[in-house]
Symmetry: C2
Subunit: 281 residues, 2 copies
């Protein structure tokens, strides 16, 4: 049996009881390591699970899934995924490939940022389409997420922005070489995301109506579900100066006027104070 098991967002103990039972009895246990990361490392997971984990990078999951599937027809093989297994498209793909090879599979769900973002007090039913904000380079500065934020905000909906993660990315220089060299891992902060969002505003300045303003209320979160979780609510402009520390970070651009309960929650748990300047923008 091939098991795709979500391990949640915080630390080793956020795996479900069902998930842990399977991990303990499985023949091999892989840890998918490129779509997200936990606040704790492989060592801590191994210690708590009492199992050795095999790191599965993008190459292994997307191109060499044969290695993972090996023996999954006669024994239990686990692929652990931070958050929920359906948080990333690549996991849909691996399930289809398992089915095509006649390998039975099971999924063990867990929390992911898509529902745990509720911890910031914004109602999950008031979120529109989720967007991803990628790291820009000098020559590649996509901003298709801007239009999605615009559409959400026209309807008064919040936008969850998932921030880029670069793990084991080959350096440009090494792409042509036999021996790959990798960039150090990078995780986009709410400050970096706010900076890119503000840069887009400058480019669109002549557009008339804009998706958001410098003063638009945003909520930044870091390490959701862990003991060091942080939530901050402020304008987009202020968010650029915010330091929420270690990864992972996510950013919410609010949809405009908040529900009174959302307002009360943010006022109770962050330094946010409702006032005319922020309200409804």
């Amino acid at each position: 049996m091939f098991y795709l098991i979500g391990i949640g967002l915080g630390d080793a103990k956020d795996i479900t009881v069902r998930g842990l039972e399977i991990v303990k009895r499985a023949e091999s246990v892989y840890l998918e390591s490129y779509t997200s990361i936990l606040s704790v490392g492989k060592d801590e997971l191994e210690k708590f699970y009492g199992r050795e984990l095999i790191i599965a990078d993008r190459e292994m999951v997307e191109q060499n899934s044969e290695d993972i599937f090996k023996n999954a027809d006669v024994s239990d093989v686990v692929l652990l995924v931070v958050g929920d297994p359906f948080g990333a498209t690549t996991h849909l793909d691996i399930i289809i490939r398992a089915k095509q090879k006649g390998i039975p599979f099971q999924v063990v769900h867990n929390a992911s940022i898509l529902n745990a973002i509720g911890c910031c007090g914004l109602q999950l039913y008031s979120f529109g389409e989720t967007v991803s904000i990628p790291y820009w380079t000098d020559t590649w500065q996509p901003d298709s997420f801007y239009d999605k934020i615009f559409e959400n905000r026209k309807r008064g909906l919040h936008t969850l922005c998932l921030l880029d993660i670069k793990v084991k990315e080959p350096t440009l220089e090494s792409l042509m070489k036999r021996k790959r060299e990798y960039e150090p891992p990078r995780f986009m902060s709410v400050s970096e995301a706010a900076d890119q969002l503000l840069q887009i505003l400058l480019k669109k300045a002549d557009d008339g109506e804009l998706a958001y303003k410098e003063s638009t209320l945003c909520v930044g979160v870091a390490r959701v579900g862990s003991p060091t979780q942080q939530i901050v609510a402020c304008s987009l402009k202020e968010m650029k100066e915010v330091d929420l520390g270690k990864p992972l970070h996510s950013l919410v651009i609010t949809g405009g006027k908040l529900h009174p309960l959302e307002e009360e929650y943010l006022e109770t748990f962050t330094a946010y104070k409702s006032n005319d300047e922020n309200a409804g923008k």
Copy 2:
């Protein structure tokens, strides 16, 4: 400490290891029983947790939270919630009240339908605003969710429809009496939801452009995350005839043209076959 702990969607073992540790050592453990239900009952949870559970109905959670908070300043009190604690607005409210009373709290996240719906193979990033479909009565037939589905579909986004749950609803006749009597619990099926959606189409027939058609591809799911989970993909009209058995059910109205991977997933795991009639409608 007041703990709000998500227990996931399937059965007793879907609680996280951290959650179970807290449940085992807490002084009192409440089970919130009106915003959702598990496939297993209170008895099975009690047996697995090794703890007696106190059922917390709407009245207790929303009006008598004093009972729940009693002693939470000096000992550990748990409120268990099916899915994730932030799936329902009422839980935001109880956290604010805890904070106001100076009671420290912690949240333990888990899977909820909002992310576990990914099990149907539709990409979570292609969902728009989530809607709730309430049971209609002879005199109360709200359809505000129709406009939200319309807006989502204009943008090619899927809509997750959460289907109504009636647990411990007072009968109309008993509302004026001293002794409340309650309706038997009801859970809207995908068939009932499809029926209401089709009835709206009749009402809107003269509107010109419609949010969806009888032929629009829908995905019905039942008991997500449990061993008896079911997924079916068919037209809205066909969905009216579908019987997915016991609760809980949820319905997705697709946004139009599917991503090739979504198409492949549905073809692999349901009886759905991509054809011109369904595609892009």
